[in-house]
């Protein structure tokens, strides 16, 4: 009953690989930029805080699909040449996901009590030592479940890149479907594949959440 899928399996899985690659770029870049965004959001310097906050609030209030479109059509004007859909999608994802990761970082850091930081300072630890041994490890433990959840969402969202013609799995499925006309089995296969990956991810997230809760770090 999965004949159309089996016949086109290498082609479809090749598309899936594109989703994975896009997710890896989006997450690596998003986490890196997101850390900076998070730091900007807790900054006491107004010239850092306000621009970063504007960026975060702006992007969090528009749908990702528009960001993808916008980048794809605006970037050629700015750079002067057409961008590869993969590069364009990767950049849009990084810029978009960084705002979400940034907010997760911010919440993680702000959840640490002022007195805990004072306690570290009062033993003579300096800012760098306090950040290294106290702030970052605790914030990271608290952020881990939300970070995994956001990563799952990012992975699902990579399929949106089909709108700019990126040959990822959903795009390839529509192509195969237009030839084979086996919509139900083809799209079911895509759904199952996404489900398996994301379900495993959410179990991992749950595991860390439980672990932190038991250690009362949350």
């Amino acid at each position: 009953m999965f004949d159309a899928v089996l016949e086109n399996l290498p082609y479809l899985l090749g598309g899936f690989l594109t989703n994975v690659k896009l997710a890896v770029f989006a997450l690596a870049g998003g986490l890196f930029l997101g850390t900076l965004v998070g730091l900007g959001r807790i900054s006491k310097r107004p010239w850092v805080y306000y621009p970063v906050t504007l960026y975060v609030n702006f992007l969090r209030n528009i749908p990702l699909i528009l960001v993808i479109f916008w980048f794809y059509f605006v970037m050629p004007i700015l750079v002067g040449k057409n961008l590869d859909p993969f590069v364009s999608a990767a950049v849009s994802f990084i810029v978009f996901e960084a705002t979400y990761f940034g907010e997760i970082f911010r919440a993680g850091f702000q959840s640490i009590s002022k007195d805990l930081v004072s306690a570290a300072y009062s033993t003579g630890l300096n800012f760098r030592q306090t950040a290294t041994y106290i702030l970052v490890p605790i914030a990271f433990r608290r952020m881990l479940p939300s970070m995994i959840t956001q990563s799952i969402i990012t992975f699902q969202d990579t399929s949106l890149a089909y709108v700019i013609g990126l040959a990822e799995m959903v795009r390839r499925t529509t192509i195969v479907d237009s030839i084979e006309v086996r919509s139900i089995q083809l799209y079911s296969f895509v759904a199952i594949l996404f489900f398996i990956i994301c379900f495993i991810g959410s179990r991992i997230s749950l595991h860390y959440e439980e672990k932190s809760r038991k250690a009362k770090v949350l």
């Binding site: 004072s118 009062s122 033993t123 003579g124 630890l125 041994y133």
Partner: protein
């Protein structure tokens, strides 16, 4: 040891400390009491350089906190501080909590720091908890670990910010006993507390603060028997009930 000269502090328009003057000599024990919001904790935080103040001067061991050249991190090594809610590092064992600063700040070797930490845990009565995480300790035990952590830096003075107010009644005594022990060994202490039994037993001086001012100060028993201001009388009447 600690000189506070005419210190004032504002949070925006609100003045939290009003012209505070106080001298704490080496070996002296000073208890600060007063209603919440009277500026007691803020005063301790200012002495440790955790909060800035806008007027006056604080001098610790001959070093002025107002001097921009003063290394606050260095200064804080001299003053140990214990907080109301213990503030142990939740992701570290008790032993790591105590040895972190001696290893990172004092550059002690791990065995050396751990030996010292075990001695301190012995002293606060919970050497068997060295490998436990803070979440698995009672409040009283956590606070005793917090005291050991502060003592591990061999401070010249210890400050306590309401160390027993977050504790269940049956745990207050075990923490107070550790503090009384410290006092008897001659530690310089600045204690914000409403434990008047403790104040009577160890305090060389008791300060009553209200609305950011020192309203009254006195020596042990005298302070309780003959409070001069009406505000102090009302306050004592309420907490000694």
């Amino acid at each position: 040891m600690i000189e506070i000269k005419n210190v004032s502090k504002w949070f925006g328009d609100f003045q939290v400390l009003v012209d505070i003057d106080e001298v704490v000599q080496r070996g002296q024990k000073v208890v600060i009491c007063g209603p919440s919001g009277s500026g007691k904790s803020t005063l301790l935080r200012c002495i440790n350089g955790l909060e800035p103040y806008q007027k006056g001067e604080i001098v610790v061991d001959g070093v002025s906190l107002s001097d921009p050249k003063t290394n606050l991190y260095k200064l804080r090594e001299k003053i140990g501080m214990v907080f109301q809610r213990f503030e142990l590092y939740p992701h570290m064992t008790v032993l790591r909590n105590i040895t972190l600063a001696p290893i990172k700040v004092r550059k002690k070797s791990r065995p050396q720091a751990e030996k010292k930490a075990m001695e301190l845990l012995e002293r606060v009565g919970i050497p068997d908890k060295a490998g436990a995480y803070p979440a698995n300790l009672s409040g009283g035990q956590q606070q005793r670990v917090a005291i050991a952590r502060a003592l591990a830096m061999e401070p010249a003075c210890m400050m306590f910010d309401e160390p027993t107010s977050a504790l269940d009644p049956e745990m207050i005594q075990e923490v107070l006993e550790v503090m009384i022990g410290l006092a008897k060994e001659g530690m310089t202490m600045l204690v914000v507390t409403h434990e008047m039994g403790f104040a009577r037993e160890v305090a060389d001086e008791i300060i009553f603060m209200d609305a950011g001012r020192i309203v009254e100060r006195g020596r042990g028993d005298e302070f309780f028997k003959n409070p001069k201001s009406q505000r102090t009388k009302d306050f004592l009447g309420q907490i000694l009930k």
